[in-house]
Symmetry: C2
C-alpha cells in the first residue's frame, strides 16, 4: 500500500518521541511492503517562533494532502502563564482540529499488567480496565459563538452550541466502536441542567434503537467522574461532548498509571491525526529521557484506523509489550532496575519489528 | 445563643439522615445552652408531589427567615430517566441556590485514618489528604442566558457568563479559608480556551496581591482532574467555577472512599445551607441503613460557619470519630464485624454528646 503521511513533531519532547515512532513506522512499512512517504511541518510554539502562526498554512496544506498525520505535542512554558497572549500554541491545535474537521478524539485506556503498580488506584480496582473514551472535538463551548466581553469589560461569556448533525455523527461512531468491543455504551451529559445535553440525550436515545445489540446507559458527568475512579472496569465505550471529554479523558488517562503509554486518534473529515495523550513535557525536552511508547502506539492506531491494517498495528503492540517485559523502559516506568533513554527504547522496539 | 433553623429533609434517605442530624443538633444545643427553634418544609420530588413545585414559596419564606438550613437530599427515580420532564426536583435545588444567593459551595475532603481501606486509591497516595473545594454555585453555564433551541429545533445552546463581582466574591472567600488553613490556593480554570476563564484568571491575579502570605497556583481543569487522583495531598484550597466545580468536587469526594462521611456548606447572601455531599439514595429509602454521618458532620459545619461556634462543631466531630473507633457504623463502612442502622449510629453519637 502507498502511505503518505504528515509528520508534526511540535514542541518540547515532541521531536524526540516522534522520531522514534517514525522509525518504528518505517520498519513496519519495510516489513509489510508498504511504500511510505512523509513530510515534516511546524505546529505550536515552534511555528509561532518561526512564522508567527501556530498552525501555518503550509502545515495545513500538507495535512490536507496526507492520508494521516503523526503528531507529537504542543505547548511551551513561554506561553503558559500568559493566557491572554494574543498568539498561543493552543490556538494552533484548535484551528487544526477545526480546519481538518477532526470531530472525534478516540482514547483507548488499557492497563498494562506489568505496570499496574504505577496506578494511583488500588490494584483490585484498576485491574482489567479496558475502556475507550470518545470525545467530540470540534463543537461545544470550545468553538461556540458569541464569546467575549461586555463593552464595559465587566462580564465575560462563552457559548456552548451543538447541532443534531454533530451529535449524530459522533454517537454513530461510538456505537460502531461499541459493536467491535463489549457492546456497552455510556453517554455522558448534564441533561438535568444543560439544554445542549438534553439535545445530546434526545439524539442518542433515537440512535440507540438502531443498535439493539448494544446496551446503552446515560450518566451525568459528575457521576461519571466518580465512577471512573470507583469502578473503571464497568465502562466499555464512553462518548461525550468536547468540554466534558477534555476533563474525563484526562481523568481516565491517569487511572491506569501509564500516561506515558496511552495513544489517541482524532478522526476527521479530511484526514486523521495520531498523537500521544501526554503533553510536550518541556522540562524533559532535549534530554532523551521521555517515554516514546504513547507515540509509538499512536502509530499503531494509525495503521489500524487510517489504513485499516490491523496486523501492522498488532506487531507494534507486540513489540511494545516485549520491550516492557524485557525491562527496556524509560525512567517513568522503572521499578528498580536500569532505565533506558528515549532512543534506546525506540531502537529496541524498531529492532524487534525488524527481526 | 438563639438559633433558628429550617429543616429540609427532601427525598429518599433525606428524612432518615436529617432526623439523626437534628437529634445531634438538639443534644449540642442542650449541652451548650443554646435555644434552638426549627421548622420543617418540603423540597424536591416530595414537594412536586405535594404541591407541584420543587421549591415551594413557603419553603423559600422559611429559609429566608432562618439563620441556617439543614438539608437532606433531593431526587427520585421517577424523574431520573426523563430529563425533559417539565417539572424536575433539580429545578428546586437550582432555584433555591439562586433565590437564597448561595454563591459558594464548600466541601472539605478529609481522610478518616480508620477508613482508608475504603478508598479506591492506594493508601500511600491518599493518606493525609485534606483539601477544601470551593465551587461557585450561582453563576456560569448553570444560570447563563440565552439557553434554548433554535427555531428549527436543530440546534441547542447554553451560555456561560461571569461578572467580575461574582468572581471577586468567591475568590476572596477562598483566600479567607486558605489563610485559616495551609495557605495554598489552586485556582482552576480553562483559560487557554474559555473567555470566562480568562476573566477568572485576570480577577484572581489581581486579588492574589492582597494575600501575599498565600501561595497561589493556576491550573487547567483537565490537569486538576488528573492531579486530584495522582497526588491529592498537594491541594489545600481549590476554587473554581460552577460546572468545573460540579465535576471536580464529585471526583474529589470519592478519593477518600468515604462519600457517606462528607458534609458540605453552601454559603449565601441571605442564609446558608448545610447538606451531605451524597444524594438521595432512593434504593435505601425507608430501610434505616443509610449512613447519617455526612449529615451529622454538616450540622457541625453549621455550628462552625453559620453560628461561629467552633467548640460545638468540635464536639460533634469528636463524637463521630468515637463512633467509628468503636465500630458503630452503617453497612457502607463495615469491615467484617457487625453493622448498625441509621438510627443506632445517630443515637450512639447523640448519647456521646449527652455524656
Ligand atoms: C491544549 C488544550 C486546548 C487541549 C484541549 O483542551 O482540548 C488539550 O487539553 C487537549 O485535551 O488536547
Ligand atoms: C442535581 C444537580 C443539579 C446538582 C448540580 O449539578 O449542581 C448536583 O449534581 C450537585 O452537585 O449538587
Amino acid at each position: 500500500m502507498k502511505m503518505n503521511i504528515a509528520v508534526l513533531p511540535g514542541d518540547g519532547i515532541g521531536p524526540e518521541i516522534v522520531a522514534q515512532a517514525l522509525n518504528v513506522t518505517e520498519a513496519i512499512c519495510k516489513k509489510f511492503g508498504h511504500e511510505l512517504t512523509y513530510k515534516q511541518a511546524l505546529v505550536g510554539a515552534c511555528a509561532i517562533d518561526e512564522c508567527g502562526n501556530p498552525y501555518p498554512d503550509e502545515t495545513h496544506e500538507l495535512c490536507m494532502q496526507s492520508d494521516a498525520v503523526l503528531f507529537g505535542a504542543i505547548g511551551s512554558p513561554k506561553y503558559d502563564n500568559n493566557p491572554s497572549a494574543k498568539i498561543r500554541p493552543e490556538q494552533g491545535l484548535l484551528s487544526m482540529r477545526k480546519k481538518l474537521g477532526l470531530y472525534a478524539n478516540i482514547r483507548p485506556v488499557t492497563t498494562f499488567e506489568s505496570l499496574i503498580h504505577k496506578s494511583p488506584l488500588r490494584t483490585d480496582i484498576v485491574k482489567g480496565t479496558d475502556l475507550m473514551c470518545i470525545r467530540e472535538l470540534t463543537g461545544g463551548i470550545y468553538f461556540g459563538r458569541p464569546q467575549g466581553r461586555s463593552e464595559d469589560n465587566n462580564t465575560a461569556y462563552d457559548t456552548c452550541v451543538y447541532t443534531r448533525e454533530e451529535i449524530e455523527r459522533i454517537v454513530h461512531l461510538a456505537y460502531k466502536y461499541a459493536m467491535q468491543r463489549r457492546k456497552k455504551l455510556t453517554v455522558v451529559d448534564k441533561a438535568n441542567v444543560l439544554c445542549t445535553s438534553r439535545l445530546w440525550r434526545e439524539v442518542a436515545q433515537k440512535i440507540e434503537k438502531q443498535y439493539p445489540e448494544v446496551t446503552t446507559e446515560y450518566m451525568f458527568v459528575d457521576n461519571a467522574a466518580m465512577q471512573l475512579i470507583q469502578w473503571p472496569g464497568r465502562f466499555d465505550v464512553v462518548v461525550t461532548e468536547n468540554m466534558f471529554g477534555d476533563i474525563l479523558t484526562d481523568e481516565a488517562s491517569v487511572i491506569t498509571g501509564s500516561l506515558g503509554m496511552l495513544p489517541s486518534a482524532s478522526v476527521g473529515i479530511y484526514t486523521s491525526v495520531f498523537e500521544p495523550i501526554h503533553g510536550s513535557y518541556p522540562q524533559a525536552a532535549g534530554k532523551n529521557i521521555a517515554n516514546p511508547i504513547a507515540t509509538i502506539l499512536s502509530a499503531a492506531l494509525m495503521f489500524e484506523y487510517a489504513f485499516n491494517l490491523p496486523n501492522e498495528g498488532k506487531l507494534i503492540r507486540k513489540a511494545v509489550d516485549a520491550s516492557i517485559e524485557a525491562g527496556i523502559v524509560t525512567e517513568d516506568l522503572a521499578k528498580d532496575g536500569k532505565t533506558y533513554s528515549t532512543s534506546e527504547v525506540g531502537e529496541w522496539i524498531t529492532n524487534y519489528v525488524n527481526n
